[in-house]
């Protein structure tokens, strides 16, 4: 009996060792990759942000927090921050509300249409962002663009979509929402399907309307999904770059210059890597604070 027990433990111990070895061998390449391309750059950019790090200059002296001071006193930083917050606020709100409404609508459709509609609405998500930007550049053309023609039929416009400082960010928001709403729809659809149907049946028996059910069953039970959508969309929206780079280059003037565009120009146009890294750290701090606030106030206090 004792012998058997010993054999069992020895065998178990060997298996554990084998498992550990397998885990190490399996994880090592990805950990090396993760360290080189994620962990190391994070700390290295912090180091760079404390230096006068001009790519062209061989000397890279330590300058303490001067780059952060420069960023916080530079008016372009505040313009970029304002544009980013403006973009994020509307983008996240629209993408969350529209994603939810479309998901509810698609969910209410006949089984056969659900897959079709899901495919149609999700298609822009898998389309190249640059291709979508170029397409919208044509749609937004002020004199001969399709969009101005269409809204002209109902007596609106024409608007200088991308050439006006007032219209440029709303134009980018419209394009970004069109491109990404399919993603939030899919997330909400997944959330909706996890809500037990008995709740709706009970409400129906009590004579509740569909709108009442939506407000009092769907919405509260989707709170964790909504939190996920809002947090991930907000983090993504603070990093908005491709749309701005391709469609406007940050213009007209600095009207659509966002924080990541500001980082890009500082780092890769003017080659001031120290300053660019400092702005990147400020962006990180802003996103972190907003995310923590969101988690505190939107976190669900119940499970179902």
């Amino acid at each position: 009996m004792v012998k058997n027990k010993m054999a069992f433990f020895r065998k178990h111990s060997i298996n554990k060792k084998k498992q550990l070895r397998f885990i190490i061998i399996g994880l090592t390449p990805i950990m090396i990759y993760f360290f080189i391309f994620s962990i190391f750059p994070v700390f290295y950019s912090l180091y760079i942000s404390l230096h006068k790090w001009d790519i062209m200059d061989i000397k890279k002296p330590f300058i303490g927090l001067s780059n952060f001071k420069w960023a916080l006193t530079d008016h372009v930083f505040y313009i970029s921050l304002y544009n980013t917050v403006y973009y994020s606020a509307f983008y996240v709100t629209l993408i969350t509300i529209l994603g939810l409404l479309i998901a509810v609508f698609v969910n209410s459709l006949n089984e056969r249409f659900i897959s079709f509609m899901r495919g149609v609405i999700f298609a822009p998500v898998v389309t190249s962002m640059v291709a979508v930007c170029l397409m919208f550049n044509w749609l937004y053309q002020p004199m001969y663009g399709v969009l101005n023609y269409v809204i002209g039929l109902i007596g609106l416009g024409p608007y200088d979509w991308l050439n006006s400082s007032k219209m440029v960010i709303p134009s980018i928001i419209i394009m970004s929402v069109w491109k990404s709403v399919g993603y939030t729809m899919v997330i909400f659809l997944a959330g909706i399907t996890t809500i037990p149907y008995v709740y709706y049946e009970a409400a129906q028996v009590d004579g509740a309307s569909k709108f009442w059910s939506f407000l009092n069953i769907t919405l509260p039970l989707l709170k964790p999904t909504t939190l996920f959508v809002v947090v991930t969309s907000l983090i993504g929206s603070f990093q908005v770059f491709t749309q701005v780079y391709v469609m406007t280059g940050g213009g007209p003037g600095t009207s659509s210059r966002t924080l990541v565009m500001h980082i890009y120009e500082t780092g890769f146009k003017f080659f001031e890597m120290g300053r660019a890294s400092a702005v990147a750290y400020l962006l990180f701090a802003i996103v972190l604070i907003i995310t923590l606030i969101q988690l505190k106030y939107l976190k669900s206090d119940f499970e179902y």
Binding site: M56, Q141, G253
Partner: protein, 440 residues
């Protein structure tokens, strides 16, 4: 377990050392002397004769420029011909999108992977020279440039008395008119800004809703590629203004002349009009470089166009220009540098550069080409060649010109879309430029 961890540690260390080692090798041997290579044929100064001990040493040259397919095709052929003449040399030609090129060079230079030959934009040269990224031309190249090219070619590539490259191409935007539109309107070709503004009053046409359907002139309104600054600076200089003070310490454009010029520029942009309006015959004039001929022919073969002389302003008749240069990486071994200069000299010699000009529509900077009757008798080439006599480099040779350019470009862009007046534009741009110059 321990053995496995030790193995992984050793593996990582060895990989790192190997990577460092290869990087070191690539930049070593800087002191090697290469007493020369094959004399390049095709006219111009002769290169020194070959040192037989090094003649057959295999050399692999990396050569990089921005992407413009017709031009890239010609250079690819010339590189192949050079390799045929010099069998020990192989050339690897890479092209990068125009707007990404500077970033590519700077990151490559910083990481020690930059090519031997780099096609760089004039305003980048100051920083590259100051930080010793590019090499001064050897005597045989300097002699060729001084003896066989127009004065501006040497001047524009000279920093601290040394020449740093061959001109790759000259960007000289001169007015181009749509002959049909001018003829139909019964208008004379304008020679001054006043005449142009008067002509535009007839040529700007709007429909019943006030929508512009034809523009008299469409200058570049956006900051992309510095074009709005280049166009604005032509007018500024014609009106007697300048961008930066002579001592290069402050902005010098917020003056009565600058304001007058900026108001004229604002009238000539039409920022919200369609792209390529001139090619589509919706605009009677644009300012562009000689290479646009190929673009017109490709996109609208029926377009009747003509390049005319730069317009006269109250102060002078001038058009601003820029140049790109073929430069050589200062951090590659000396013998490879020498081969790189040889190749630069080869593609820039009388014959090859003339071939390129004829194929692409560039304006040659070589004296012999400008005396080639067949080449200069073409009215298009003649107009641009004549414009060279009234050309001034638009940028100032300061290390942070790129920032100055972007600052002015952004403010002009804001004015062009109606966000601010010319007065506000100059005041805002002046403030930004002074800040940039103060923080050298």
């Amino acid at each position: 377990m321990k053995r496995l961890l030790v193995f992984l540690l050793v593996f990582i260390m060895v990989s790192s050392i190997a990577a460092c080692g290869s990087a070191t090798n690539s930049t070593s041997d800087k002191t090697a002397s290469g007493a020369a290579v094959t004399a390049s044929s095709g006219g111009g100064e002769k290169a020194p004769e070959i040192d037989n001990s090094k003649a057959n040493k295999p050399v692999h040259l990396k050569f990089m420029s921005h992407t413009y397919k017709p031009w890239n095709d010609v250079l690819t052929k010339q590189a192949a011909a050079f390799q045929k003449e010099n069998p020990n040399v192989t050339i690897e030609y890479t092209t990068v999108e125009h707007k990404d090129l500077n970033t590519k060079f700077m990151t490559a230079l910083a990481s020690g992977t930059a090519p031997h030959i780099m096609g760089v934009y004039g305003p980048w040269m100051e920083g590259l020279v100051k930080n010793k990224w590019i090499a001064p031309a050897p005597d045989f190249v300097e002699a060729d440039i001084k003896a066989n090219t127009v004065e501006v070619a040497g001047q524009s590539a000279t920093y601290d008395g040394k020449i740093y490259g061959y001109i790759q191409h000259i960007g000289i935007p001169t007015p181009i008119i749509n002959e049909r539109i001018y003829q139909e309107a019964g208008l004379q070709i304008p020679t001054t800004y006043d005449e142009l503004l008067a002509a535009n009053e007839k040529l700007d046409k709007k429909d019943g809703n006030g929508k512009l359907t034809q523009a008299g002139t469409t200058l570049s309104a956006k900051k992309d590629g510095s074009w709005n600054v280049i166009h604005w600076s032509s007018i500024l200089k014609s009106y007697g203004g300048k961008i930066i003070s002579d001592d290069k310490t402050k902005a010098a454009f917020n003056t009565p002349e600058g304001l007058q010029a900026t108001k004229v520029y604002a009238k000539l942009t039409h920022a919200n009009f369609i792209d390529n309006a001139f090619t589509l015959e919706k605009s009677a004039m644009e300012w562009n470089g000689p290479w646009t001929k190929a673009f017109y022919q490709q996109n609208n073969p029926n377009l009747k166009y003509k390049a005319i002389a730069p317009l006269k302003g109250p102060a002078k008749q001038v058009t601003t220009m820029y140049a790109w240069f073929w430069t050589v990486n200062a951090n590659v071994p000396a013998d490879e540098q020498e081969w790189a200069w040889k190749f630069n000299m080869y593609i820039s010699n009388d014959k090859n550069y003339l071939d390129l000009c004829k194929e692409i529509g560039f304006i040659s900077f070589r004296k012999a080409n400008l005396e080639d009757q067949q080449y200069v008798s073409d009215p298009w080439i003649k107009a641009f060649g004549n414009a060279l006599n009234n050309a001034e480099i638009y940028y100032d040779k300061i290390p942070n010109w790129e920032k100055v350019d972007v600052a002015i470009g952004e403010e002009l862009e804001r004015m062009n879309v109606g966000e601010q007046t010319p007065e506000q534009t100059l005041a805002n741009a002046e403030k930004k430029v002074n800040e940039i110059l103060a923080n050298k």
